[in-house]
């Protein structure tokens, strides 16, 4: 009998969705209340529940036929008013799932909740953006349009070589995964054990990326956002692998295009190599002659080799400094203090562990 339920879903405007459940015997209409795309309340008109036993009412995930005796009910609380039986799940529920309301030992209703009215998540950017990447590349950053589900990300990402073979474990599967605060950016580390010279994995297998080969980074469409909506499509990034970069970052090599006084033109820095997209946003500051930080906007340029620094107020004549955090990395994990892996037999001693390097420049009329 329960198998013969017929369901149709009527969508109302705003955050309410009305699920209409029709059985051979009765019709119940759970009203779903959504918050941030997830169900926080589910209300059923009491008149449609003929034999409600408040001692035994419970909601389960799945359809009735598949619910075993061992399956626990969903954590939450029921509230009864004059007209409705309402369920408040302890943790908000997802749209697009099937649930079963059991109102007494004999009578249950299964229903499917509608997905929230939201567009599918989009992968906005993959950094580094260049299609030529060094064999000791350390990181990728994936930027999404909305907060994504964390915890199973590595299964959604593949690195495929030019023969079409999927590489075995190219990324370190970390727990917790390395997300930003709002779960819109994931940091992926290529296996550092294979990048670090002389470590066992590097000795045995070499780096993940082989020079002169091409690869494709694939982001699978099954990856869901925090409301359970999957990515709008499969994403691919193809790139060719070039020589490893094992030099520390040297600001003295950078080319500066200096704006004129009285303008708000950008100070343009050409690093002559791709830099870490995330660190560029917070590791360079402009100081005035009094060593005060000048408020500026930072815009990444082509392949993250360029950084545009746009002042909120126009430049004044005089001396300015760039204050560069010595932990600023290029895309291979080399920073201003040391290359990613330092050959102790050859390298000169690191003289100091200073926090910042400074580049001085002058704005003229």
């Amino acid at each position: 009998m329960l198998d013969r339920f017929l369901r149709c879903i009527i969508t109302l405007s705003g955050s309410l969705l009305l699920s209409v459940i029709i059985s051979a015997q009765s019709v119940i209409q759970p009203i779903l209340e959504f918050d941030k795309g997830r169900i926080t309340q589910l209300s059923i008109p009491l008149e449609s529940l003929s034999d409600l036993n408040l001692e035994q009412v419970a909601i389960f995930t799945g359809v009735m036929d598949n619910i075993s005796k061992r399956q626990p009910p969903i954590l939450g609380r029921f509230k009864v008013s004059d007209t409705y039986l309402s369920f408040y799940p302890h943790f908000s529920l997802e749209g697009g799932r099937t649930f079963t309301l059991k109102i007494n030992p004999e009578l249950s209703y299964s229903f499917k909740t509608e997905l929230p009215v939201e567009s599918a998540p989009v992968l906005l950017d993959i950094f580094p953006s260049s299609n030529q990447l060094p064999s000791n590349l350390l990181k990728f950053y994936l930027h999404f349009s909305v907060p994504m589900q964390a915890g199973n990300s590595y299964a959604q990402i593949a690195l495929i070589d030019q023969r079409g073979d999927t590489l075995d474990a190219p990324f370190v599967a970390l727990s917790p995964e390395l997300w930003n605060d709002d779960f819109t950016r994931l940091t992926l580390w290529l296996d550092p054990g294979r990048i670090k010279r002389d470590l066992g994995p590097n000795q045995l297998l070499g780096p993940v990326l082989q020079q002169r080969q091409t690869y494709e980074l694939v982001i699978k469409p099954g990856w869901k956002n925090q409301q359970g909506l999957p990515l709008n499509k499969k994403y691919q990034k193809s790139f060719r692998v070039i020589q490893a970069d094992r030099q520390k970052v040297n600001p003295d090599d950078w080319k500066l295009n200096i704006p004129k006084a009285g303008t708000s033109d950008a100070l343009l820095i050409n690093f002559l190599q791709p830099m870490d997209a995330a660190l560029l946003q917070r590791m360079i500051q402009v100081l005035n002659v009094k060593n005060e930080v000048i408020p500026c906007q930072f815009q990444l340029g082509a392949n993250e080799e360029l950084l545009k620094i746009i002042p909120l107020n126009s430049w004044k004549s005089g001396v300015y400094q760039l204050r560069i955090d010595t932990y600023l990395e290029d895309i291979c994990g080399n920073n201003l203090l040391r290359p990613f892996d330092r050959d102790l037999h050859k390298a000169t001693e690191i003289k100091s562990e200073e926090d910042f390097n400074f580049l001085t420049w002058e704005v003229k009329k």
Partner: protein
């Protein structure tokens, strides 16, 4: 029809509330504002430490779960993930088990779960029953890691604060040790916090390096670690994201220090360490390490003590390892483990059929 007006009913009451009766000094009952649970560890007297990466906070929860249990429950719970998903109103793909810790007094097993929308969940399991720990009302004390990092002299001078994903947490002798991975720079920090947490705690946050075969030196992000007595001195036994087993004395952890760990073993490739614990078999101590893609590894700490050289010779054979010997046990796909009591270890393991099972195994069989 049964007619009941404006009657509030609390049903499905699996909820387990920690009620304040006698508050510990510095503790308060209420909502500690936990935004994520990356790591769990028990201290003494039923104190559960929760590592919250999102708010960069370590919360000490007084579970009041201190009724001693000499013999732990027989444990064999099948399909833990399916069960928990049902209870939390989702499906197996809608949640992740982040960590597991066993209360050494009551032998209750605590699980940190993260839902698809990143909501943190803390569950307690005893006698085959899962109960929700209400995180909105617990006796707690907390400290922020940002303060810890800011208190470090290096970060006081204008360097932008870094965000650390807490990769492991441990309590040892009045101190909470926290390892964190940066989500931007390739670096990690190991932070030592005094417990009970102090307002102006003496904190240290150090960076760690290691050298492969004594030659190439790099930063070394710690994935999992444990404090352990070696040669009469407490050491951190750590496993890095690139697998080698590294040790350094805990007394070298000083604010702003740059520590170089001593690499004592390379434990193979294509592998990420998950958990490390110690146990005894026939009165002899061992370390046990769980890994993403290799078997459980058993290591004799005496061999670590006797190991005098840094790894100096390159590894030659495929999947070979170097340094201190270890024994691969025929147990794979262990996702979480902890010591149940002196004779039993609890494993959360995915079997060949894909089922995630929780069971206890005798230490002397390992």
């Amino acid at each position: 029809m049964q007619k009941i007006s404006l009657l509030l009913l609390l049903l499905s009451v699996f909820s387990f509330q920690l009620v304040a009766s006698d508050e510990l000094p510095g503790f308060t009952t209420g909502d500690p504002g936990i935004q994520s649970i990356s790591a769990l560890a028990f201290g003494s007297d039923g104190i559960l430490f929760v590592g919250d990466s999102k708010s960069a906070t370590i919360v000490a929860i007084d579970t009041k779960d201190t009724q001693e249990k000499a013999t732990p429950d027989k444990l064999n719970f099948k399909n833990v993930d399916t069960y928990l998903a049902s209870m939390l109103g989702t499906e197996v793909d809608g949640m992740t088990i982040q960590d597991m810790a066993i209360n050494p007094i009551s032998k209750a097993i605590y699980f940190a779960v993260q839902l698809r929308d990143a909501s943190p969940v803390l569950l307690k399991m005893q006698e085959d029953q899962f109960m929700l720990v209400d995180l909105k009302s617990v006796s707690h004390s907390k400290t922020t890691l940002n303060q810890a990092v800011a208190a470090d002299a290096k970060d006081r001078r204008g360097r932008s604060l870094r965000r650390w994903a807490i990769s492991d947490l441990s309590y040892h002798d009045g101190q909470v040790l926290v390892s964190g991975l940066s989500n931007e720079e390739f670096s990690s920090a190991l932070t030592k916090l005094d417990f009970p947490f102090k307002k102006d705690a003496l904190l240290s946050s150090i960076e760690i390096y290691h050298a492969a075969h004594g030659r190439y030196e790099t930063y070394a992000p710690i994935k999992t670690f444990m404090p352990y007595e070696l040669s009469g001195k407490t050491h951190i036994v750590a496993s890095y994201t690139c697998t080698p087993l590294v040790i350094f004395p805990i007394d070298q952890m000083k604010p702003g220090a740059h520590l170089k760990g001593k690499t004592v073993a390379e434990l193979g490739n294509r592998n990420t360490p998950l958990d490390i614990i110690s146990y005894e078999k026939d009165g002899k101590p061992y370390l046990l390490m769980a890994n993403t893609s290799r078997a459980l590894m058993k290591i004799d700490p005496n061999k670590i003590e006797q190991y005098k050289d840094y790894l100096t010779e390159p590894v030659e054979e495929s999947s070979a390892t170097a340094g201190v010997d270890f024994i691969n046990l025929p147990i794979v796909n262990v996702l979480q483990m902890d010591k149940y009591d002196n004779e039993n270890i609890v494993l959360l393991q995915r079997n060949a059929a894909g089922e995630l099972n929780l069971y206890a195994t005798k230490s002397n069989r390992l």
